[in-house]
Amino acid sequence: MTPFNLAAINFAWLPILPLITVAIAAITALLVGVRVGDEESEGLGWLTLAALGIALIFTLGIVGQSGLAFAGSIAIDGFSAFFEIAILIAAAFTVLMSLDYADENRLPGAEYYSLLLFAALGMMLMATAGDLIVIFLGLETMSLAVYVLAGLRRTEPRSNEAALKYFLLGAFSTGFLLYGIALIYGATGTIKLGPIHAALGGQMMSNRLLLLGLAMMLVGFGFKVAAVPFHMWTPDVYEGAPTPVTAFMAVGVKLGAFAGFLRIFLVALAPASSEWSWVLWAVAALTMTTGNFIAVVQTNIKRMLAYSAIAHAGYILVGMTAAAGQAGGAILYYLLAYGFTNLGAFAVVIAVERRGEAEDLIRDYRGLATRAPALAGAMAVFLLSLTGVPPLAGFVGKFYIFSAAVNQGFVWLVVIAVLNSVVSAYYYISVIVAMYMEEGGVEVAPMSRKPALAAAIGLALIAVVLIGIFPQPYIEAASNAFTSAIGSGAVGAASLVP
């Protein structure tokens, strides 16, 4: 390999153009924002949206390409494209929700949009990672940005508490992850996902370093995806963070973290699945059950959605437990369905939130159906999708995951999961009860004054209904994306650099 092969370098830049776009946009937002001040935060928002759109176009441009770049550190494949698109869409929804919110709550525009973009960058980096170090880099880029975002409501004590808590626990979990990476490196002699996959087998399976490394990484990712017993930070952080940031955490961070989690466990470490599958079995059962049961008693809707997010992480872990067969595609589809549903639900929370004194109580939703029928109707659809009522996206997602798990023989885990769904029906439906069957509650500003927010809700609604009723193309995309993931051994890891 010649070190000064310019053509090769040029070629390798193309696949990471989406990442570069987002990075440049993040820096630009910061610089421009500092120049113009906080008054112009809406303009900055539109700028951010445009940058995300450009990045999306670039991503669509490289769909179908496959290969490794930067000496195997970056993996470009269907998997990365799927997650990049999903993450960019999630970020764009977040911006739509933030346009009015940032003004009303006097968030510093420059920092806000810049950090949002940096967080998205980190998530995308995890999705395109070809080795453990890049996954770690992505995770840290994402996490650091989100720690700050959680605390951006500077005068709000709960926001400060959220940021500090998230930072301390997050830093702790990062330590675990890094230690795990080191141990895996010690066991296999490589940090590249493809070679790790190849190294597993035979004696390696009983290697103590490998097993310990696996355990450490499980803890690290467990924190990030909010799996029980590493979930303690979630409700406080979700409650305290500015609501669009909460939405971004519930969807974007989940996407990013699961991208890394899947790349490592379901792709690179798939041959060792007998070593970690039973651990995930227990974690999945625990996560679903704890999340759902604690969600039942919540009175604050953001906390309720936080516990619901924990429960949904549990359902996804059911898919990870299955590990083989359709499981990968099922998880990707589930993330998509869950993502749109949650974005929509949080957008409604923002719409109902009272300016300044946001308490976000479920009580506030009483009688919403008579004051704002469209808003209540949309919220009802999102909640039913989260419950898993057909023919909405959430149902198809659950169905897909449960089928994958049953096919791998995990019938009892699926029984636990479906019984959990019944529990979850109770608390989701309580919100519908409040909206449709009770009186009182708070006044809601007409949506015509917030066109961007209304657009976010409308688009999410269309997506939830559409990918539920006509799931076929999305299922296909999800399962293709997963099977094309580089490093599984099934797909040849051709280098993009000649």
Partner: protein, 526 residues
């Protein structure tokens, strides 16, 4: 191909629902909703007329790939088991809308009509789906509008009743989903194909243990919906608190979905287990019959009384189904229609009485015969139909069920007869307390009789009762081939069990009389 008739039947109400919700609240809402409900009504009559009574297969089938990755297709069809329930559904929906427009529903009429029409789509979809996944989708879809109907327009503890209803039903059905997935997975393992098409699933070979678990999951889902004793406890609450139209549809059609599920899925998919479980289900059905009747007798609330009488009547339906012979099953289907019509009419009458007095306490009434003679006369006919007086519809169904049951298990029939007597007792006693005797409360003196709209609602019901009581042949004729086809598979399994029993008996007691023992015990003894 059926030319899209069934698709039109399912989705026109949904279209109507979307049209209604776009309108402004007012009289126009009721009119347009009612007109929209007449279209599927007309289509279902056409379906009844064009249905080939000699065929046991699905007719008017439509099939398109929906989610090919999972082998899920949009597959519709109608046969003798579902046809009559489809007609019943469209009739009751139209009558409910006609009745509710008369002042029963005062708030948010637009949303009310919306949910009723969505419910109609869900019900028809569940009846017409041949693909099991599609069936499950509609099965769950119909839950949501009913939940809103009870929760928004109900009385008293409506929210409690609505949530209880949803959680009970969801609990049952979600385990069925796991069973469906497992079944398809087994099909995939054995045949290498992935398909949710019901006819293809009959051939899946299962171990006895697998079949028992899967049957249990299906049976639980359907038993909760029927509801069978002891999982009936959601029903009195849901019925009592629901608005009249909700009760009518709940009793008239939704409960039938449980029984329909047994006939369409649980029994044909696992005929061997169904034969084994006959004794259990017959026993539960008999307990339901007697228990429902006895609890109904002591209810002080008129609506609650009718609700418990449903538990009793549905017990008869289940008894007929598990007789597993043509008489029993046909009687059960006929009784489903009867119960839909009679109990629907009873709920309508209770609603009409409630509108006049704002109370349903039986002790508040007495002597209504004098102030509202037409109402009393109609009530009389409906009540007699519910009791099963010869000449009215109830008799035909009950007679067939008793006949079928007697052929299968005479003890069960003997107990069930007691249920019929109790049924006559609580109905007649109620009638006496409400309609006869002196007028004890002054307000009842001036109680208005039925108005034109109410007569328009009840007249078709009375006509149906007479027609079905006097001339059941057109209905029975249409269900017969499908029922016979379904039972054929069951009888094969039964013969197998007999065979095993015989060989077993020959081995152990060579001089015994194996014929005298019912097949069920042979299995239990294994």
């Amino acid at each position: 191909m059926g030319g899209g008739l069934l698709t039109a039947l399912i989705f026109l109400p949904l279209l109507g629902a979307l049209f209604v919700i776009m309108q402004r609240d007012g009289r126009g809402v009721w009119n347009s909703a009612f007109i929209f409900s007449l279209i599927p009504l007309a289509l279902s009559f056409y379906l009844f007329y064009a249905f080939d009574p000699h065929s046991a297969d699905y007719q008017f089938s439509e099939q398109y790939a929906w989610i090919p990755q999972f082998g899920i297709s949009y597959h519709l069809g109608v046969d003798g088991i579902s046809l009559l329930l489809v007609v019943l559904t469209t009739i009751l929906i139209s009558l409910s809308l006609l009745y509710s427009g008369g002042g029963d529903i005062e708030v948010r009429p637009r949303e009310f009509c919306f949910f009723i029409l969505v419910l109609e789509s869900g019900l028809l979809g569940a009846l017409l789906a041949v693909d099991v996944f599609l069936f499950y989708v509609f099965w769950e879809v119909m839950l949501i509008p009913m939940y809103f109907l009870i929760g928004i327009w109900g009385h008293g503890r409506r929210i409690y009743a609505a949530i209880k209803f949803v959680l009970f039903t969801m609990f049952g059905s979600i385990l069925m989903l796991v069973a469906i997935i497992y079944l398809v997975y087994s099909e995939h393992v054995h045949f290498g194909r992935l398909s949710f098409d019901l006819p293809l699933m009959f051939q899946v070979p299962l171990t006895p243990a697998e079949a028992r678990w899967l049957f249990a999951a299906f049976a639980l889902a359907f038993a909760i919906k029927v509801p069978m004793w002891p999982v009936h406890t959601w029903l009195p609450d849901a019925h009592t608190e629901a608005p009249t139209a909700g009760s009518v549809i709940l009793a008239g059609v939704m409960l039938k979905m449980g029984a329909y599920g047994f006939l369409r899925f649980a029994i044909p998919l696992f005929p061997g287990v169904a034969v084994e479980a006959t004794a259990l289900f017959m026993a539960l059905a008999v307990v339901g019959i007697i228990y429902g009747a006895m609890v109904a007798m002591v209810q002080p609330d008129l609506k609650r009384l009718v609700a418990y009488s449903s538990v009793s009547h549905l017990g008869f339906v289940m008894l007929g189904i598990f007789a597993l012979n043509v008489q029993g099953v046909e009687g059960a289907i006929y009784q489903m229609l009867n119960h839909g019509i009679s109990t629907g009419a009873l709920f309508l009458l209770v609603g009409m009485i409630y509108m006049r007095r704002r109370t349903r306490e039986i002790s508040e009434f007495g002597g209504l015969w004098r102030s509202a003679p037409v109402m009393a006369a109609v009530f009389m006919v409906v009540m007699l139909s519910s009791i099963g007086l010869p000449g009215l519809n109830g008799f035909v169904g009950e007679f067939l069920i008793m006949l079928g049951t007697f052929l299968r298990q005479w003890i069960a029939a003997a107990f069930a007869v007691g249920g019929i007597v109790l049924g006559a007792l609580y109905m007649l006693w109620t009638y006496e307390r409400v309609m006869f005797g002196p007028i004890t409360k002054a307000v009842n003196e001036t109680l208005g009789d039925l108005d034109a709209r109410e007569i328009a609602v009840l007249a078709p019901v009375i006509a149906l009762m007479l027609f079905m009581g006097l001339y059941p042949r057109p209905l029975l004729m249409r269900m017969e081939p499908s029922v016979a086809k379904m039972l054929a598979a069951v009888h094969v399994e039964e013969a197998k069990l007999h065979e095993e029993h015989h060989s077993l008996a020959r081995l152990s007691i060579p001089f015994g009389h194996p014929e005298s023992k019912p097949p069920v015990r042979a299995v239990a003894a294994k």
